[in-house]
């Protein structure tokens, strides 16, 4: 059942220690800072986090990592000029890293939502990131077998929700939101605006409400 919550604390309530948590965003665009802060406040720990990056500067995901709540990162690009909290944890051997090419990350998340048990892709063939993986020659190319990434929870940021849970996003902040919403058992979305049912054009809905469990208006 779709729920509307008044606060981000209520929205993230019940996320258990050890959960696999997808967090939307590419860099800061689309990153649900307020939900991440609430997750930090909730005390949940031992998390596996799926995000394109591994936190930037001293906010959002970076703080979750700093505070030792993240056991493992699944991401494509953890090394940035301001990813010092991840860097420190990684060098100290206090965080596990599964490095995934960005397109494989997206496609594996999409596969989880779409009920695909695995797929072959040329990306990564012949590289360190495909070591030990099954390969097959298909469509004239060597391809690597990749498996879906499922999650317990997705924290995403959208622009507007209606009362049915339909979502639209804004510009490149859309990024991982729609596929993470479909891949997680429970999707929590922070939005800037909530409109009545019928307030979004059905042609323009990006994430149908079927993928959304909890909505909270922020800011």
């Amino acid at each position: 059942m779709l729920e509307f919550k008044d606060t981000v604390a209520e929205a993230v309530a019940g996320i258990e220690d050890g959960s696999i948590v997808m967090i939307g965003g590419f860099g800061n665009a689309g990153q649900p800072f307020e939900l991440i802060d609430a997750l930090l406040q909730s005390g949940a720990t031992g998390l596996t986090v799926v995000n394109n990056n591994a936190g930037q500067a001293d906010e959002g995901l970076a703080l979750l990592i700093k505070e030792g709540r993240v056991r493992k990162m699944i991401c494509s690009f953890p090394r940035q000029s301001d990813s010092w909290h991840f860097d420190a944890k990684y060098r100290a051997g206090q965080i596990e890293l599964e490095l995934v090419p960005q397109g494989n990350l997206a496609e594996r998340i999409r596969a989880a939502g779409a009920g695909i048990g695995g797929f072959f892709t040329p990306t990564g063939y012949g590289t360190m990131l495909a070591e030990g993986k099954e390969t097959r020659f298909l469509d004239g190319k060597w391809q690597v077998f990749e498996t879906p990434i499922h999650a317990d929870v997705a924290l995403i940021k959208a622009l507007t929700a209606d009362r049915k849970g339909n979502l639209v996003y804004r510009k490149t902040a859309r990024n991982f939101g729609p596929i993470m919403a479909a891949a997680a058992k429970r999707t929590i979305a922070q939005v800037s605006e909530i409109v009545p049912t019928g307030g979004l054009d059905p042609e323009n809905v990006i994430t149908p409400g079927i993928y959304v469990n909890t909505i909270v208006k922020v800011g």
């Binding site: 590419f26 090419p101 960005q102 997206a106 063939y125 510009k171 902040a173 859309r174």
Partner: protein, 234 residues
């Protein structure tokens, strides 16, 4: 995108004036960017990766009608945003604020990478640590044991685009060629690079070997003397 050097072929505003040509001296980064820009067919859909290749966008002409893709979810990306144009929800793959051109479109990450992985981009332009004679690309990892690995969309771009152009200096700071018989750095993709644009020459990775299309400030014979990779003239 931050470092922009000027050279004899570059005009102040970055607008192209006439085609670049083979010169007596090695090409600067902007001259090289202009050369790549000139080689992109009109109407192409292009991804310029991050860093140095993004300079190419300064030299694309309106007549070429090139559409730029950024893997974080957009076709029709415009120039870097400045001043009031800056919008935190509108960034490129290097996380730099950019602008939107008329006719743009937005899509989620799986759809965006489907554009790359499905072979729909005509050209992508990437930087590199090394390219092998067979077109293998190394541009994501130095192989240093203490490095924190980060790959982003490099492998998807390398394997997905119809043509992969590399832009790099021919030599390392130690004077060693980066176009090599076999990679010594970890691979990004195998047999994917089709052209290598360097400050001293443009190389075509062809079925019969590595062809030198043009040279800058160096003769073909001098180039052969510098490199381990067998070269074919013309």
């Amino acid at each position: 995108m931050s470092e922009q050097t000027t050279s004899n072929l570059t005009t102040a505003g970055g607008a192209p004036h006439g085609a670049p040509q083979a010169s007596d001296a090695p090409l600067g980064r902007d001259d090289l960017a202009r050369l790549v820009a000139r080689d992109i067919a009109p109407g192409s859909f292009v991804n310029l990766g991050i860093g140095q290749p993004t300079l190419v966008s300064n030299y694309l002409t309106d007549e070429q009608d090139i559409t730029l893709h950024t893997e974080n979810g957009m076709l029709g990306m415009g120039p870097v945003a400045t001043g009031d144009e800056i919008d935190p929800d509108l960034i490129n793959a290097g996380k730099i604020p950019v602008t939107e051109l008329p006719g743009a479109s937005y899509f989620h990450h799986a759809d965006s990478f489907a554009i790359m992985r499905g072979g729909h981009l005509d050209v992508c332009v990437l930087g590199a640590f090394q390219v092998s004679a067979g077109g293998d690309l190394a541009n994501w990892h130095t192989g240093a044991p203490d490095a924190i690995p980060a790959v982003g969309g490099a492998m998807d771009l390398a394997t997905g685009a119809k043509d992969v152009y590399v832009m790099m200096t021919l030599l390392t700071k130690d004077g060693k060629p980066k176009l090599v018989p076999e990679l010594t750095y970890p691979a990004t993709g195998v047999g994917c690079v089709t052209r290598v644009y360097t400050d001293q020459a443009v190389f075509l990775i062809a079925a019969d070997g590595v062809r030198v299309r043009e040279t800058f400030g160096i003769t073909f014979e001098e180039l052969e003397g510098l490199m381990e990779v067998p070269l074919i003239a013309g």
